[in-house]
């Protein structure tokens, strides 16, 4: 097995036993990026000098007996995370030359442990998209089939795992942006409960929905990485002050006594036959491991996409008001006066999807439409949240597909925003309700594209979904398959 194919867990052991140094692992990853990224374009910025410097420091930490979970492990971050002294673009021309003045808390916690930063990953601009095609720095290709999208918005974070360019990555998930690309690229992606991980230093899209989470090769690594980043942060007043359990010790290989709900609204006629087949097999596997299945109903599922595109765009229109060309970001050269400078700077700095969402959000919040759109959506959000509360009265977790189809072709949905939005139908309700969810590899389509399984848990029920995901993973071999590159 090549060094670049290893997991956090296996590298931890190898580093501890001095079988390998962090510098060696880091060089292997940097060579792999060099060899594969002209085809995949998972990275916006690669930071080789910094990585080798970090790796040397990590080796010293290990030598002096100070190793922590992530010491010496090469990782990469979605370019939405602020990284002190390193360019942070959010895949936008607006932030082309932006050098972050401080670290995001999630990254800061990894850095303190001695994690090695390989670079910053591609995404949809400002996390707005489901395909990684809305990047000012070119699209990212799916390592399993380069004519297909890797998913989005954390497409680079998923593709980098599938292309074995990083051991683990961080993504963010506002409507499925961790789980959907994880599903499309055959890796594990965990969206924690809202408030579990600090959002400080994460460039805001829709603040009541955004959440940070790990993207990894397997469930064990997701548990390890979540443990490293989770917990209350006084700098994020929406992070929740409740103890962080030992997620690694929650990984029991057993589903006995676990009651799993199957929401009937998620198993619809329009589901791709390959996805349906993977779900049927997964249900059979979980049943053989001792799980009991119950059909349940989430009656407001069909209203989730509409609700999301009003709430998320409204919050985005407000969050993105900060890009005015005064304090940071792009400033137009061709303007006359202050207001015109702002309007031109934003016109030149933002891509089409970002403009569209700002427009939609501004409309939903504007005088005369606020009650009909924004307030209405907030009320429907209550109904969607109640659906989940009701469901979790009778089951421990839920099992659903992550997406209705495997990764679609590049260009297939770019001209029709609404079709693009509808590809997130199974992931969006989770963000509206604020609960946790994980995507685990569960099969392949006839054409060889990965298909993910989604497990959903109660608020702060990460241990339950990790245990179920781990048991499923141990009983199957999907996570061991590798994209040929």
């Amino acid at each position: 097995m090549q060094l670049y194919e290893q997991t956090i867990f296996s590298l931890q052991q190898m580093l501890k036993q001095r079988q390998v140094s962090s510098v060696e692992i880091t060089k292997a990853m940097l060579n792999r990026i060099e060899a594969t990224d002209s085809a995949i374009n998972a990275f916006i910025t690669v930071t080789p000098e910094q990585a080798l410097k970090d790796a040397k420091a990590a080796d010293q930490m290990i030598a002096s007996g100070q190793a922590a979970t992530l010491t010496g492990i090469p990782v990469a971050l979605k370019d939405i995370f602020l990284t002190d002294g390193i360019r942070t673009t959010c895949a936008s021309r607006m932030l082309d030359n932006f050098i972050a003045p401080y670290d995001a808390t999630a990254w800061g916690r990894m850095k303190v442990q001695g994690a090695v930063l390989l670079g910053k990953l591609n995404q949809d601009e400002f996390a707005m998209g489901s395909s990684c095609e809305n990047s000012a720095f070119g699209l990212t290709r799916n390592p399993w089939n380069q004519d297909h999208i890797p998913g989005g918005s954390s497409g680079g974070s998923a593709a980098a795992i599938a292309a074995q360019q990083a051991v683990a990555t961080l993504g963010t998930d506002t409507g499925g942006s961790i789980r959907q690309p994880a599903s499309h690229c055959g890796c594990v992606g965990l969206k924690p409960t809202y408030g579990r991980v600090s959002r400080y230093g994460v460039i805001s899209y829709a603040s009541s929905l955004d959440q940070v989470g790990p993207m990894t090769r397997d469930v064990t690594d997701a548990a390890l990485l979540l443990g490293a980043i989770a917990g209350y942060d006084p700098k994020d007043s929406t992070s929740v002050d409740c103890p962080v359990p030992d997620y690694h010790s929650a990984l029991k290989n057993d589903l006995k006594g676990m009651k799993i709900g199957l929401p009937k609204e998620y198993f619809i006629d329009g589901l791709d036959p390959d996805v349906q087949k993977a779900m049927d097999q997964a249900i059979a596997t979980c049943r053989s491991l001792g799980a009991e299945f119950v059909e349940i109903s989430l009656p407001h599922t069909n209203y989730a996409v509409a609700t999301y595109y009003l709430i998320a765009t409204a919050e985005a229109s407000s969050n993105l008001a900060r890009y005015e060309g005064v304090r940071f970001g792009h400033r137009s050269e061709t303007s006359s006066g202050l207001i015109d400078m702002m309007m031109q700077s934003r016109a030149e700095g933002f891509g089409a999807e970002v403009k569209r969402r700002i427009m939609l959000g501004t409309y939903a919040l504007s005088s005369g439409y606020y009650d009909a759109y924004y307030l209405k959506a907030q009320k429907v959000r209550t109904l969607i949240q109640r659906d989940f509360i009701e469901a979790f009265k009778s089951v421990d977790i839920l099992l659903t597909p992550v997406a209705p189809t495997p990764a679609f072709r590049i260009g297939e949905k770019t001209s029709d925003p609404l079709q693009m939005y509808l590809s997130d139908i199974f992931t969006i309700p989770v963000n509206l309700a604020g609960i946790c969810g994980i995507s685990v590899p569960a099969g392949f389509s006839k054409d060889g594209l990965p298909i993910g399984l989604q497990l959903l848990g109660r608020p702060f029920g990460e241990e339950s979904i990790l245990r179920a995901a781990y048991s499923f993973e141990q009983a199957t071999e999907w996570h061991t398959k590798k994209a040929a590159l």
Binding site: S317, L338, I339, T382
Partner: protein, 95 residues
């Protein structure tokens, strides 16, 4: 739900976006389609429902009002498109 060009121009102004003519045409039809889709929410009777603005119920998050170090002028101005000593410089506000 139909949107007029005047409405698109009004929203663009509120959004502080200088849109090209092509963008105005494109966004008019795309926003019409999206707004038509979100009309489905009207099927639901929500008169007695409280709106949810935040997934996790929370009280205000208070902290002690203590003096702590801040980012400082140099770092705060690091990414400024234009600056003058310790100030951000902008085009004239009043002509």
């Amino acid at each position: 739900m139909s949107i007029t060009r005047q409405e698109i121009e009004h929203i663009a102004k509120l959004s502080r976006l200088a849109l090209s003519n092509d963008e105005k045409v494109l966004f008019t039809s795309q926003m019409e389609a999206i707004l038509k889709y979100v009309e489905t929410l009207k099927e639901l009777d929500t008169d007695a429902i409280t709106p949810t603005s935040h997934a996790v119920p929370m009280e205000n998050a208070f902290r002690p009002d203590s003096v702590t170090p801040s980012i400082g002028h140099e770092r705060a101005l690091l990414n400024a498109p234009d600056k003058n000593e310790t100030y951000f410089r902008v085009p004239p506000v009043i002509e």
